[in-house]
Point group: C2
Chain length 153, copies 2
């Protein structure tokens, strides 16, 4: 479990290592594609972990921990790509409220990061019950933000 523990430590400290100006984008479209890419990766691992947490896929402790570690790390990436000037783009589902209610958006992204940090710790225990207990609250933070800040297709 040494590797997984190391990765969890890294995830917990990742935000601190990321400078505020970590990324700038040439074009608004680049930022939109970046954040969509990061959220896509996040969603895929979250879906795979959720299938295990909900008994729709066989529980595999090592795979669960891997998914949760990736989620915890990638959870820090999308947010800086919602900068000024990236409100509109061909395929963005971002609602204008992201820019008009920035404090709320930031708070929700931070709650998500906190919840998925706990999820990674739970996954690492190897207990499916702990995974289940942590998965619901983490999923709720995703849903809460999507409800407020993501347009329906």
């Amino acid at each position: 479990m040494k590797f997984a523990v190391t990765l969890a430590l890294a995830a917990a400290s990742f935000a601190l290592a990321a400078p505020a100006s970590a990324q700038s984008f040439q074009k608004p479209e680049d930022a939109i594609k970046y954040r969509q890419g990061a959220l896509r990766v996040l969603g895929a691992h979250f879906g795979a972990l959720g299938a295990m947490a909900q008994g729709k896929a066989p529980y595999d402790a090592q795979a669960a921990s891997h998914h949760a570690d990736v989620i915890a790390l990638v959870s820090h990436l999308p947010w800086h790509a919602f900068g000024p000037g990236t409100e509109k783009g061909e395929n963005t589902r971002a609602k204008p409220e992201i820019w008009t209610e920035q404090a709320k958006f930031k708070e929700k992204s931070e709650k998500m990061q906190e919840a998925v940090g706990k999820l990674a710790a739970a996954a690492k225990t190897g207990s499916v019950d702990q995974l289940k207990a942590a998965f619901g609250p983490a999923g709720q933070t995703c849903k809460s933000c999507h409800d407020d800040f993501r347009r329906e297709l």
Copy 2:
């Protein structure tokens, strides 16, 4: 630098923590979007780091290390999404050779992972010269794989 060092250790051990069956996708399109998302994130951070390495953007040691750490971690993600049945899709630039020359494709992805691991270590030294020295070889591994396995637009 404690955080960065921790993250680098994590990056180095990430592949080991990832089980072979880490991810399955409901539809081929999901796999295509996942790998495109991961590669998009990779490319954005690589571009930002390259701008510093090539003197097109001011050198910021902390930002450079952050970019290199993200690259090292995400470099492990895209490959399992090139599974059987994901050869064709609306926007994929994947060449058929990925599936007909799997050993070569795997070797190139592993060379890239090795090179970006070194890049992360170089970025962590805080020396722009070390960053420059490691950036070229890492960029070459990207290009080499794209030349063989990615269609032109």
